[in-house]
């Protein structure tokens, strides 16, 4: 055991704060152990909907993807015709693009060049022809990895004033943590809950103004579709954001990992890059933008493979050179993650042997999500004390909790954030693990919970049933 004079007693001061997840994880572990020992509870298992982890909650991987990965891992499988012809062809092609024909090789720093090239072609297609250049794309072990690298370039610890990054409230906790861990300051801008978590540009102005004297804001971080908000930005709003960053000379970071998760009937996803390109050369050629995507969400849900990329637009070439060197110290992204990215943007096409199954599987996933969103929204809004904005996109529901004052009081006495108090109770009494809104920041005096909605329908129903039962009792107990 360490002595009292631990070397590490002085540690980097950026890494200091307790995370709610640690508390809840311990509790969940204890409950699971008790269940294993035969303890009687109102539930037989804990349902974990804390993170956006679709496979964990029962969504299935796409067969085509897994067949290609298996064939790449163990090329013996390509002998004979057990695997569909297009799987074998794709795997063969991919292996030909790996050095030494093995997925165990390092790749070029930014990713296997042919895969990067195909990513740029995808982006061009997606954006209706707006050109994308391979040399602006860097594949990494997940979008958060790329995001951290870009934050790292932006946050200047030697500057006289602390570097600030404007980030939404509510905001995906990992991104905010990433900024702070690097020594940057999060400058919060509040999304308008009553307007479906819309981003209002006046609020961006206010936030920027508030930072005066406190830090030096250099960038604006936007998540679209939102996490946890589920809001899908309108083109108009995106244009306002672009004009704002241009006017205020901010770097724009667009986290678009949920671009394939759009459920609402009226809202569709359009990328920041495309909107920018359509605003004329004065903006299109100058606004500096980083957009992020990943294999973790959408129909793939392959969080564990760690594949993501960043596309950098209009950056100073001299800065790009340093970004390249920085990325090179990570060697390269995991090859299977790179391959998954490739398969995400180049799925089976009609006429391909794998297409029918691929189509069935993806349709099922989309139907499931649409159904879950509808059900979650309906159930939550039927319960007094819950108010859920439309979930237009993303992987989560983020309803507001109107906690009775007695509950808030009880929480404060226990030294807990009120929504964490609620969530701890929910886990204990109903065996459902969700995350408290306090993890994502929220307007003072408001409380929320966040839970993933990417799961088989019957599990979603079970979650909603347990939540409804618990919530009704909770509100009664603290009335």
């Amino acid at each position: 055991m360490a002595t009292e004079m631990s070397v590490l007693h002085k540690i980097s001061s950026n890494v200091k704060k307790e995370a709610a997840y640690a508390v809840l994880d311990r509790q969940a572990t204890r409950i699971k152990e008790e269940l294993r020992q035969g303890a009687r509870k109102p539930y037989k298992e804990v349902i974990d909907v804390y993170w956006g982890n679709p496979h964990r909650t029962g969504m299935k991987p796409l067969s085509f993807v897994r067949q290609v990965l298996a064939a790449c891992l163990y090329p013996e499988l390509m002998k004979g015709d057990k695997l569909p012809a297009d799987v074998r062809q794709k795997a063969q092609g991919l292996l030909g693009e790996c050095s030494g024909g093995s997925v165990g090789c390092y790749t070029a720093t930014a990713g296997t060049p042919e895969i990067v090239h195909r990513l740029s072609e995808f982006i061009t297609r997606r954006d209706g022809g707006v050109p994308s250049h391979p040399e602006n794309i860097f594949i990494s072990p997940g979008s958060q990895w790329s995001l951290a690298n870009i934050f790292k370039v932006l946050v200047n610890r030697e500057a006289p004033t602390r570097t600030g990054v404007l980030a939404p409230v509510p905001c995906y906790s990992t991104s905010a943590l990433s900024i702070e861990e690097l020594g940057g300051a999060v400058v919060p801008y509040y999304l308008s809950e009553e307007q479906g978590w819309e981003l209002q540009v006046e609020e961006l102005h206010r936030a920027l103004e508030s930072a005066k004297g406190a830090c030096n804001p250099v960038a604006l971080y936007v998540i679209n579709p939102g996490n946890p908000s589920g809001h899908v930005q309108s083109r108009k709003s995106m244009q306002e954001v672009i004009r704002f960053v241009s006017e205020k000379r901010l770097f724009l970071l667009a986290d678009e990992v949920y671009q394939d998760c759009v459920h609402g009937e009226k809202s569709g996803f359009v990328s920041y890059k495309r909107v920018l390109a359509e605003m004329g050369p004065l903006l299109a050629d100058t606004v500096e933008l980083a957009s992020f995507h990943s294999v973790s969400k959408g129909c793939m849900g392959e969080c564990g493979l760690r594949g993501g990329y960043v596309e950098l637009v209009n950056l100073d070439p001299a800065v790009m050179k340093h970004i390249y060197i920085l990325c090179s110290t990570d060697s390269c992204a995991p090859v299977l993650g790179q391959i998954a990215l490739d398969l995400m943007v180049n799925p089976p096409q009609p006429g391909d042997p794998s297409y029918p199954l691929y189509d069935v599987e993806t349709q099922h996933i989309r139907t499931t999500l649409r159904h879950n969103v509808k059900r979650a929204h309906a159930v939550l809004n039927s319960l007094p004390g819950f108010c859920c904005q439309p979930v237009e996109g993303g992987a989560f529901a983020f309803p507001r909790l109107d906690l009775p004052p007695k509950a808030v009081q009880k929480a404060k006495e226990a030294g807990l954030q009120p929504d964490l108090f609620y969530v701890i109770r929910l886990l204990e009494e109903a065996g459902v693990l969700v995350s408290p809104g306090s993890e994502y920041r929220q307007k003072e005096g408001t409380y929320h919970i966040r839970f993933c909605i990417m799961m088989p329908q019957h599990i979603m129903e079970e979650v909603l049933r347990r939540l409804e039962r618990f919530h009704t009792k909770f509100m009664k107990d603290f009335s």
């Binding site: 360490a2 969504m59 958060q144 943590l177 564990g304």
Partner: protein, 491 residues
């Protein structure tokens, strides 16, 4: 609003510029994937376009990538990983039962039985347990606690994470980190990135790159004048030098770390790559514990391992782990938070690591093939290590220490003064000048010693010993011939 010319074109009004970007990032270099490699890639492109050169392929002996040089993956490992990726294959009787057993166990431990689910940031629990069991076996029964094991995205990720945790303070109190010269440039890059103070201690080339405590003391005392030294990094077996430290040396280092109150970082990714007959890998942890409780209960240490090297060579999976010894529990809580920013290490890499620490046993069907393949890989590497030392030492101007372990040779080159002057004229360090010439004339890509650090006035290059034996012989011969030609040209 910065105005500067880049390539002669004035750049006005960029938001993110060289002037306002993180200055630490500008100081980062990484020779293994640096300018010479970029030139090599360009030459490959030119070859593909049909441009005639004195060679038909570029041999990339710059990076420790065994599969890229033709080494075959280990069958068992790939079988299990394929089963994990596409569990329908568990019905296929082409796969041996022990592979299926392991795949089932791994999938059971994955969320939703899928390698596509996030795991806990610290890594899948049963895999950490298997890693702990492996370490215990390796170290003759010294206990290892799975809670002190953190799986990571390659060893590099864990190394950088620990450094992030350790580096703090300002000005004269800024953390100093001792690293060997020569070193694997991830360390210098990470230190530049973090704005830590790099403290160089020199390995002794004349003593087969041995480590001397007096040199550690010298470096430390000097450093104390301008920073707060708190960390000592050591790579064993060494990269780029290949030396395998003696047990006595390891004890000396541990004693030194205790006396000087330093956190020890032991990079042991090459622990199975030991070739020299008189050398043996001693894990820092084992030695620490065998030195008794006075040391084993006080010295704070992290040891690192990976799936990229040894006999597996699975660089592309980004699998690795670190084991922490005597870490303050409060600090560990912060570490857990820090690794959460990465979400989790790639599951295929975690699964692969599980197989490496849990290989087929003598009573299992895959054992024979597995052992055969593993032995063949390591035997071939040993052969190539010896071959390399032998051939390089035949030519004047190249002196090569025995390649005791790891995957590289780091020979010293003696260049005529005229060559050094010519290099200076071209604005290049002499060993870069040498290596660039070699690349252009022979299509062989090495990394200049300046990328790893070397004593003032000495020049080296790092070459991998990974090309297949016949090709390696050819490469070695070409380099020897080039050395003679080059010396002649600049005499």
């Amino acid at each position: 609003m910065s105005q500067q010319a880049v390539d002669g074109v004035p750049r006005r009004g960029k938001v993110l510029t060289l002037d306002n970007m993180n200055p630490n990032v500008k100081r980062v270099e990484y020779a293994v994937r640096g300018p010479i490699v970029q030139r090599a890639v360009q030459i490959e492109k030119e070859l593909r376009e049909g441009i005639k050169k004195p060679f038909t392929e570029v041999i990339k002996a710059n990076i420790g990538d065994a599969h890229a040089m033709g080494q075959k993956p280990i069958t068992f490992l790939r079988q299990v990983l394929a089963l994990c990726s596409y569990p329908e294959l568990l019905e296929d009787d082409k796969f041996p039962s022990d592979a299926k057993k392991r795949a089932r166990r791994i999938l059971e431990a994955c969320g939703g039985h899928s390698i596509g689910a996030y795991s806990a940031s610290q890594g899948i629990e049963c895999i950490r347990q298997d890693v702990a069991a492996f370490i215990e076996r390796r170290d003759g029964g010294i206990p290892s606690n799975p809670d002190n094991i953190f799986l990571s995205t390659g060893a590099s990720d864990a190394i950088v994470t620990m450094l992030k945790l350790l580096v703090c303070g300002e000005g004269r109190d800024r953390t100093g980190v001792m690293i060997s010269i020569p070193q694997y440039p991830l360390y210098s890059a990470a230190l530049a990135d973090l704005g830590a103070v790099q403290i160089n201690y020199y390995l002794d080339e004349d003593k087969c790159w041995g480590l001397d405590v007096t040199e550690l003391k010298r470096a430390l005392n000097e450093a104390r004048q301008h920073c707060d030294p708190r960390v000592l990094c050591i790579i064993n077996p060494g990269n780029p030098t290949g030396q395998v430290q003696s047990r006595k040396c390891i004890e000396d280092v541990i004693r030194f770390a205790k006396e000087e109150h330093l956190f020890l970082m032991a990079d042991e990714v090459y622990q199975e790559n030991v070739y020299a007959e008189n050398c043996k890998f001693h894990s820092f942890k084992k030695v620490l514990f065998e030195m008794g409780p006075e040391f084993s209960s006080t010295v704070e240490m992290a040891s690192f391992h990976s799936t990229s090297k040894c006999y597996m060579g699975e660089c592309g999976f980004r699998g690795g782990y670190m084991e922490l010894i005597n870490l303050d529990p409060e600090v560990k809580a912060q570490l857990i938070k820090l690794v959460s920013v990465r979400l989790c290490p790639p599951i295929p890499g975690q699964a692969l690591l599980d197989l490496v620490v849990n290989p087929p046993q003598p009573n299992e069907p895959s054992y024979t093939t597995f052992t055969k393949e593993r032995t063949a890989v390591l035997a071939t590497l040993a052969e190539k290590a010896q071959l390399t030392e032998q051939i390089f030492n035949t030519v004047p101007g190249i002196t090569c220490n025995p390649v005791q372990g790891a995957m590289y040779t780091f020979p010293r080159i003696t260049l005529p003064q005229k060559a050094i002057d010519e290099a200076k004229k071209e604005g290049q360090v002499p060993d870069m000048f040498y290596c660039m010439r070699l690349l252009e004339e022979e299509g062989i890509c090495l990394v200049p010693g300046s990328g790893f650090g070397q004593r003032e006035g000495t020049l080296h290059f790092r070459m991998t010993i990974l090309p297949p034996t016949e090709k390696l012989k050819m490469v070695l011969q070409k380099i020897c011939d080039f050395q003679l030609r080059f010396t002649q040209e600049f005499s």
